[in-house]
């Protein structure tokens, strides 16, 4: 059995009286594609936000690559190797596609103000490397011909891809995708699926929140189901698909 990359222990979060997460514990193993599904409002995105430091959990916590994760610092999550995309795409709209990915390199590079002012050799070399790496990533997600377009002018599917490229630029160990197939047609979803398979093959663990049950079941090694903020089941797709509670959660009791 491979080692756990991420472990959530009894993560709880409530907003006022609403319990969005009730002691959710799960573990994601290195190298797998892990699906997180559940009906609307089940707490999937809340779980994501807790994991990536946008929300501070009210209870429990995360262990990532053997070390506990600080709850209150989103930038630290990226630093440690957790990258994410957003359900309602959040790109830097007035920057070009290339610049968006270059921003993603921020956390793995270090040129400071003085480097920028004096344009010394190390800074120039680093800048060139950032640009090269960003181009490579655009190529990887197959939108390199849109490199110089403003992000907001990209098509919906290309924006999704760009967001993934930007996340990959941070060299994540764990890539968290929040409903990447939302709003996509059949062809686009098939292409996305290929992309995710490729990312996994290149050694990045993937956590996938998705509504498209077919995509999740076909793609994921293991799946967890959330309902009313609580974990219903965590198992391989074949088992999850047949679980009575899951069927109830999706079809309504």
């Amino acid at each position: 059995m491979t080692q756990a990359l991420l472990e959530a222990k009894a993560v709880a979060k409530h907003f006022g009286g609403v319990k969005a997460l009730r002691d959710v514990s799960l573990s994601i193993r290195e190298g797998e594609v892990y699906g997180l599904i559940g009906p609307n409002g089940a707490g999937k995105t809340t779980f994501f936000n807790c994991l990536t430091g946008l929300y501070i959990p009210d209870g429990g916590g995360f262990t990532f690559a053997g070390q506990p994760l600080r709850a209150d610092a989103p930038q630290q999550a990226a630093q440690r190797g957790i990258a994410r995309t957003f359900q309602n795409i959040r790109l830097f709209g007035n920057m070009t596609a290339l610049e968006n990915v270059m921003v993603g390199r921020h956390v793995r590079t270090k040129a400071g103000v003085f480097g920028a002012m004096f344009q010394n050799k190390a800074t120039k070399a680093e800048e060139a490397a950032i640009r090269q790496r960003a181009m490579d990533l655009l190529h990887y997600v197959q939108i390199e011909d849109r490199a110089d377009d403003l992000a907001k002018n990209l098509s919906y599917g290309d924006q999704r891809r760009l967001e993934i490229a930007r996340a990959l630029a941070t060299e994540p160990k764990l890539l968290c995708l929040d409903e990447p197939a939302a709003g996509m047609n059949g062809t686009e979803t098939a292409e996305l699926r290929e992309l995710i398979v490729g990312i996994r093959k290149d050694g990045t663990t993937v956590l996938l929140i998705e509504h498209d049950v077919k995509l999740v079941m076909g793609l994921c090694d293991r799946v967890a189901v959330l309902d009313y903020g609580a974990l219903v089941i965590e198992d391989v797709p074949a088992v999850v698909q047949k679980d009575q509670r899951v069927i109830e959660a999706y079809l309504g009791a």
């Binding site: 990536t52 430091g53 946008l54 989103p74 930038q75 630290q76 999550a77 990226a78 630093q79 990258a83 994410r84 957003f86 959040r90 790109l91 830097f92 709209g93 007035n94 920057m95 610049e99 270059m102 921003v103 993603g104 390199r105 921020h106 956390v107 590079t109 040129a111 400071g112 103000v113 480097g115 920028a116 002012m117 344009q119 800074t123 680093e126 800048e127 950032i130 403003l150 930007r166 996340a167 630029a169 941070t170």
Partner: protein
């Protein structure tokens, strides 16, 4: 990137250099007062580009920028005037002034930069007022700032024995104080332009733009938004401090009156009116907003006389009225500023469709 020094661009740069070198002498023919106004235009270019780092790059609304200018000005005034009997060298004072302003920026910025935009605006505005009130009143029980009277007889900038005040014959040609300051100011302005340009297209500059575009997404890719905002704030403050020092030396006199809120507002207006974040636009904004009120000062009176045969209204308030009107009209018809960055323009054009 390497071959930007084409014959054409070299010729262009030479031409601009010659024009810049000749400018104070051409303007000098109309009187030294105009050279002084020109100097202020360049000083404001410097200030506006400093504020551009804060507002244009990092997207932080700073309405108390003048406070840092004041810190720099008083640092110079106290360390190089008979007030305390100190006459330090520029190489000591400018760094001290810049550091004091920088520290003030960090002290103000670290607790407040997490506030949302408009709250930050009022906090910085309040800070500017606090600084001004202290400058006004720190003459008792110990006389530090000499209160509302301000500090006089401040040393001019001098390099070794070469003073920038008064006439100096150069090649038998008398060069005035303002004309000498002009060259110092142009050098400083070019420096800040280069810094702005280089920062904009750097790792840091991209991170600032990312924060401005979407702070949450910026955090998600690992940008330490708090530290980067603080960095922008502190850098802007340091530039303010340097400008303040030069201002004190050039005027020979400082008083709290020069550092009122309207000054902060003016510098912000230069940045926004010119085209926020776009360096040529900011330069244009600074030059226009310095020259316009002065031109109005000289133009409003005679024009009234010409039209009505006498002074109908106080020229001073008419001049400010026209100025206010100009602000409103520019914003009405050029909401992104007179000379916005190309992508901003595209954005607005698309919005209009």
């Amino acid at each position: 990137m390497k071959n930007w020094l084409t014959p054409k661009s070299t010729a262009g740069i030479m031409l601009i250099a010659v024009a810049l070198a000749a400018l104070p002498f051409v303007v000098g023919m109309a009187g030294q007062a105009w050279v002084r106004i020109l100097n202020f235009a360049i000083l404001y270019v410097f200030l506006a580009l400093g504020l551009n780092i804060v507002v244009g790059f990092a997207g932080l609304l700073d309405l108390g920028y003048i406070a840092f200018y004041a810190v720099g000005a008083y640092a110079w005034a106290l360390l190089a005037s008979p007030h305390f009997g100190l006459h330090w060298s520029i190489w000591a004072i400018l760094p001290i002034g810049a550091s004091c302003a920088c520290i003030a920026g960090i002290v103000l910025g670290s607790p407040t930069l997490k506030l949302r935009g408009d709250y930050l605006a009022i906090v910085t505005l309040g800070f500017g007022e606090i600084v001004r009130i202290f400058l006004n009143n720190l003459n008792a029980p110990f006389n530090i700032t000499n209160g509302p009277q301000g500090i006089t007889l401040i040393d001019p900038v001098s390099f070794g024995g070469f003073k920038l005040s008064g006439f100096t014959p150069i090649f038998g040609f008398p060069v005035s104080g303002p004309q000498k300051y002009y060259f110092l100011l142009v050098a400083l302005a070019i420096l800040v332009i280069i810094i702005n340009l280089r920062l904009q297209h750097s790792r840091i500059g991209r991170a600032w733009q990312a924060i401005r575009e979407d702070e949450i997404a910026a955090k998600a890719v690992g940008i330490d938004t708090r530290n980067l905002k603080l960095l922008a704030f502190a850098m802007g403050a340091s530039f303010g401090g340097i400008a303040g020092g030069i201002f004190a030396a050039m005027q020979g006199f400082v008083s709290p009156e020069s550092f009122s809120l309207i000054e902060s507002v003016m510098i912000l207006a230069m940045v926004v009116l010119g085209g926020m974040g776009h360096i040529p636009g900011v330069i244009l904004g600074a030059v226009l907003l310095t020259i316009l009120p002065e031109a109005l000062r000289y133009g409003v009176g005679p024009i009234q006389k010409l039209l009505f045969g006498k002074q109908l209204v106080d020229p001073e308030s008419l001049r400010m009225l026209v100025f206010g009107l100009a602000l409103v009209l520019v914003m009405r018809f050029k909401p992104a500023g007179l000379w916005p960055a190309p992508e901003r323009k595209r954005e607005l054009a698309e919005g209009a469709k």
